[in-house]
């Protein structure tokens, strides 16, 4: 069966005014299976939005090929456009003066839906995204979360089989973001495929079947989300937290860390924010470390694997705000 998305050696460059060339995508090859939620992770300027734009036919690649459900995004734009939905994050892309319902009627006409169909779908989608009560309010009165849900409704209007979501929950409060993610999971259960460009690790972990890390236009790795920890080696870890205000200095976390480092089954001890991570030689070593920690009254101690966020930070590196 044809993959939902197949990009091969995809390259996109931009010419700047001073005639220098910026490489936004650098020979990127990626396959997304049907009915998959695929996360595209990377820092600002990594090339996530460029890839989404190429796959949704907004942008032409400089070289390479990309196919959506078997259709070439350059040669068969008409077929691709009817199969994909593009959902952009942020405040732009909607008509503020129109009501939510009117926005959907407008875009429905552009998707060549007949008047009856678009009315029925608009009502159903507004209900589904929780905007039925505000259907006849102008979008200019909507919160960020409501706009985002309307963006998704617009993207679903023509019942696309593949959806490209670009930073769909940026700026949403946790409740709205959770509701949005639940909606995406429901839609996947209906057989749709998603490419989710984000730099929200929690979102990727909660939603994605597989994730790809990209940076400076290059694909760094692709794997099942659940397996991402293995990227850093099949390492055993134990995480613990401790009350650093303990009266006896030897019971404080820093002292515990020093003592832990001397144990034969411990290979490394590092601080990760408000917790500590102990890297061990093997599973038996982890069990001994857990027992050792529990004897010393730590607040929490658990067997752990590297998270997606750690994989991301170690793979992309310490670029901070640099793009």
């Amino acid at each position: 069966m044809e993959a939902a998305v197949a990009a091969s050696a995809l390259r996109r460059t931009y010419e700047r005014r001073r005639k220098d060339t910026v490489v936004a995508l650098d020979d990127l090859t990626l396959t997304i299976d049907r009915n998959e939620i695929h996360g595209l992770l990377g820092p600002n300027g990594a090339g996530k939005t460029t890839l989404v734009k190429i796959l949704s036919t907004v942008l032409l690649p400089t070289s390479g090929t990309a196919r959506v459900l078997g259709h070439d995004v350059v040669a068969e734009t008409g077929a691709v456009r009817s199969l994909v939905g593009l959902v952009l994050g942020g405040d732009r892309g909607l008509y503020d003066r129109l009501t939510a319902r009117r926005n959907l009627l407008f875009w429905g006409a552009l998707y060549k839906l007949d008047a009856r169909t678009v009315r029925l779908r608009a009502d159903a989608l507004l209900e589904r995204v929780g905007l039925a009560d505000r259907a006849d309010d102008p979008v200019e009165r909507f919160s960020r979360g409501m706009r985002q849900r309307l963006h998704l409704a617009r993207g679903l209007l023509h019942e696309p089989r593949v959806l490209f979501l670009d930073e769909p929950t940026s700026g949403l409060d946790p409740v709205a973001a959770t509701a949005f993610r639940r909606l995406v999971l429901d839609l996947r259960d209906e057989g749709r495929t998603f490419l989710l460009a984000t730099h929200d690790m929690d979102e990727a972990t909660a939603l994605c079947d597989r994730v790809s890390l990209i940076d400076r236009g290059r694909l760094l790795l692709t794997d099942d989300t659940a397996n991402m920890g293995r990227i850093l080696g099949d390492r055993e870890c134990v995480d613990f937290t401790h009350d650093d205000t303990a009266p006896e200095p030897t019971a404080r976390a820093g002292s515990l860390a020093e003592a832990l480092a001397l144990l034969p089954e411990v290979t490394d001890v590092e601080r990760l924010g408000d917790r500590w991570r102990v890297h061990t030689t093997d599973r038996a070593g982890s069990r001994r470390v857990l027992a050792w920690l529990i004897e010393r009254d730590v607040l929490t101690a658990r067997h752990a694997r590297p998270t997606l966020e750690e994989v991301y930070l170690r793979t992309v590196g310490d670029r901070g705000l640099r793009v």
Partner: protein, 264 residues
């Protein structure tokens, strides 16, 4: 075709909704319309001041018909808004295509242009002492509508320019309208201008339509009037063609250079 008509209809609804951001019916009537009537009266009174009733009517008629052109070309601003709102890339990849949207996006300005020119047509001539020859003057109304339509095509073509460069829409609008106001035969007969300038002006909207209107009022032969009407329609069609090519190129270049969604 049916899809294109539906898109135009939806874009028209959008246009009127956006117009509500600029005007209420009161502010439009007592602000904008009154301002236009004063503008027309000002120019016509200059003719009166010079003591020439023929000149007064020439300037009055010219300035009434130019209102239709002026308001239609405001579509430049509406279309430039697509980039600022971030909707241009979404329109560009919509299965029905982006072109029908532009045909409906400024219909509200054609409507206000029709209302303001009709009010001026009915009210100002008797008020300023230069009554029009009714019922002949009624025959000029379809020609004014034609001017509205051809000027709209001109506005759409200019929007293709305005969408390419950030923040120039008002400059483009005023420059384009100013050229017509200055050289299109509104206040000064075309015969005043040197032949090369006259040749260029022939390709502007309003010019032939205005000559047809003047011909109707002066009782000119039907052949002369129809020829001018035909020329106005042809010029208008030419501007629609330019608009179509310009917008298509805007999108094709935008997809190639990655400039389609740059905010204005």
């Amino acid at each position: 075709m049916i899809h294109a008509i539906r898109v135009i209809g939806q874009a028209t609804v959008l246009g009127f909704a956006e117009m509500g951001r600029v005007y209420t019916w009161r502010t439009w009537t007592f602000g904008w319309l009154l301002r236009l009537l004063c503008q027309v009266s000002f120019y016509a009174l200059l003719g009166s001041y010079l003591g020439d009733p023929g000149l007064t009517r020439f300037v009055l008629v010219g300035n009434i018909v130019v209102l239709a052109c002026m308001e239609s070309t405001i579509v430049v601003i509406s279309l430039a808004g697509e980039r600022a709102q971030g909707t241009l890339p979404l329109l560009a990849v919509a299965p029905a295509g982006h072109l029908p949207v532009y045909l409906g996006r400024g219909v509200q300005w054609m409507t206000t242009g029709l209302v303001s020119s009709m009010v001026a047509w009915a009210v100002l001539p008797p008020l300023l002492g230069v009554p029009l020859p009714w019922p002949r003057a009624a025959y000029a109304i379809p020609v004014i509508v034609l001017v509205l339509v051809s000027s709209y095509g001109y506005g759409c073509a200019l929007a293709g320019v305005a969408l390419r460069t950030r923040g120039v829409e008002w400059l483009v609008l005023n420059f384009a309208y100013g050229i017509i106001m200055a050289f299109g035969g509104t206040n000064v007969p075309l015969s005043v201008w040197p032949a090369p300038l006259r040749a260029v002006v022939e390709y502007l909207p309003l010019v032939h339509g205005l000559q047809a209107v003047r011909g109707i009022l002066d009782g000119a032969p039907a052949g002369h009037v129809l020829a001018q009407v035909g020329a106005e329609a042809l010029v208008g069609a030419g501007w629609y063609l330019v608009a179509w090519l310009s917008m298509e190129r805007l999108v094709s270049v935008g997809r190639r250079t990655g400039t389609l969604d740059h905010a204005g």
